[in-house]
Amino acid sequence: MKLKILAGIAALILAPAAIAQSGERIAVFTKNQTNPFFQVLRMGADSAAKQMGATTTHLIPTKPDSIPEQMSLIDDVVIKKPSAIVFTPVDVKAMVPGIQKLNAAGIPVVNVNDRAEGGKFVAFVGSSDHALGVATGRYLLQALGGKGSVIIIEGVKGSGASAERVRGFQDALKEFPQVKLLASQPGNFQRLQALQVMENLMQTHAQIDGVLAANDSMASGVIEALEGANRKSQVIGINGTKEAIDAIKAGKLLATGDYNGYLQGCVSTMAAIRELRKLPVPKEVIFPPTVVHKGNYQPLDVPLESRSCPKWEDVVKEAAKS
């Protein structure tokens, strides 16, 4: 009798452990807690894990984009040994030694969002900053009828994303030779700075028909500056945040380039789990650039909690087309 009770208790204690073992543990590294984009990416990751019966832990530096902190999180993780890792490097060059540590520990890593310049990955999942810059820039220039004058508000000097998006804007401008580029000034991806830079630029340029902002926060700052001065310009941003969608609905923002944060989270986590389950995973999943505007924002205008990850097969088919 006592043996039976003991066995029963042992089973009860071990059962949760056993259940936990069967679900893969995915460690998700993102850059910071403040950028809404990464919040969305994390939600996508959680959703994918839940759908596939795995669990996620989130490793985020407390100081935004801190290289030493992400390095120490990597050291922690090498000891705790999750089943797989989904990784956004805070710096594409500096984090390479950290990624090599993960490779040495034998943990499979999926690179998401920012392509790291070294280390071995199961796959890269992301959007192309350059392609988004071209597509969103082209959308605005077409809306202007191919003529007029525009300004570019750049991101942070030294940020790969900023450089690529601005390069995309400039490539789009090449397709419309009649449009004049009045100025290209940095807004550091900051709302306030973009607002003040726009205020300053409006002093020298009496007529600005369009503004190409390298991210949605800056686009919002630009819109505030325009409204404050009672001037009108067509403005585009990149990221596809909820605030941008609301601004498009209100007619203040022309369009935003969808950076697919949610999808990136979904697909990178699905890729990590598939790798663990020995299912095929393509080396690269790059989402085709989507420009969100008045005509097509509806699918994105739903609360994140009610979104769910698409089917793997559909995503891979779409990505293969781009």
Binding site: T34, L195, N200, Q203, E227
Partner: protein, 320 residues
Amino acid sequence: MNTLVQKIHLAPEQRSLLLRVIVLLLIGAGLALVSSAFLGANNLLNLLRQASLVFLLASGLTLVILCGGLDLSIGANVALSACLAATVMKATGSPLAGCAVGLASGLLVGAVNGLLVTRVRVPPFIATYGTLWILHGLTYWFMAGDTIHGFPPAFRFLGSGYWLGVPVPVFLMFGVLALGTLFLQYTTMGQEIYATGSNTEAAALSGVPVLNRRLLVYMLSGGMAGLASLVFLARLNSAEGDMGEALTLQAVGAVLIGGTSLFGGTGTLAGTLVGALVLTVVLNGMNLLAISANWQPLITGVIVIVSVAADALSRRRSGD
């Protein structure tokens, strides 16, 4: 120029302020020559408004530094206070409630800083560096990556409105400048703040309640951060977790460029205003002249040093 200024027999602080104003005017004159837009009424008003945000934050900080302390948490204070004010305003629809919460939050953080420094005797750098992290943590956790945007027009007037053709924040700036200068120069409490910063032991021996004055300045710094957060919120029409990250260093820069000594005891709010203007004019100039992003950090650094060099050199020559 130095002998001229010395002949006029100005007190050292006044000479220091005058030299800074002269440098600012020279920069302005230079910009006016190369850019036809610089002296436009709109541009000058924009400049004043942009400077007012930095000034409001730096004014409280000036008092703290005058008293021999330091407050590194002001940027994080702005973020938390703005996010709390935004949340309350969205929930209740009342700008007044939002303002009350923002100011209260700022003051509370200031009080915590002040108590850490005066009662627990934590050195100011460490105390405010610690609160900076705690505030950031609270704000990030509270906001969870969300942005709150869209506030009632009555509230937005505080940051984006005009009165008599001049932006509202500019009135706030000059109001704080006037009240603050009167307080510092013409009240016993104000003079005690200078004394505490200049020589704490001597001040304490003379009967100055140094700990209370220290607590006061930290609370004022926090309160001004709270006020600045409301103006910030009203200007940007949105609140997010990483607001104000760049503001702390700008505010410290404004205070120090303005001539306030990091050791305490010397400095003026007028100097801080000049410091805030220098920083604002530099950015304005670079935008107007379409200077490439590659050069902007370099130029900012050079101008910051130049604006202080005139005073520093003159001190050396007169043997200060």
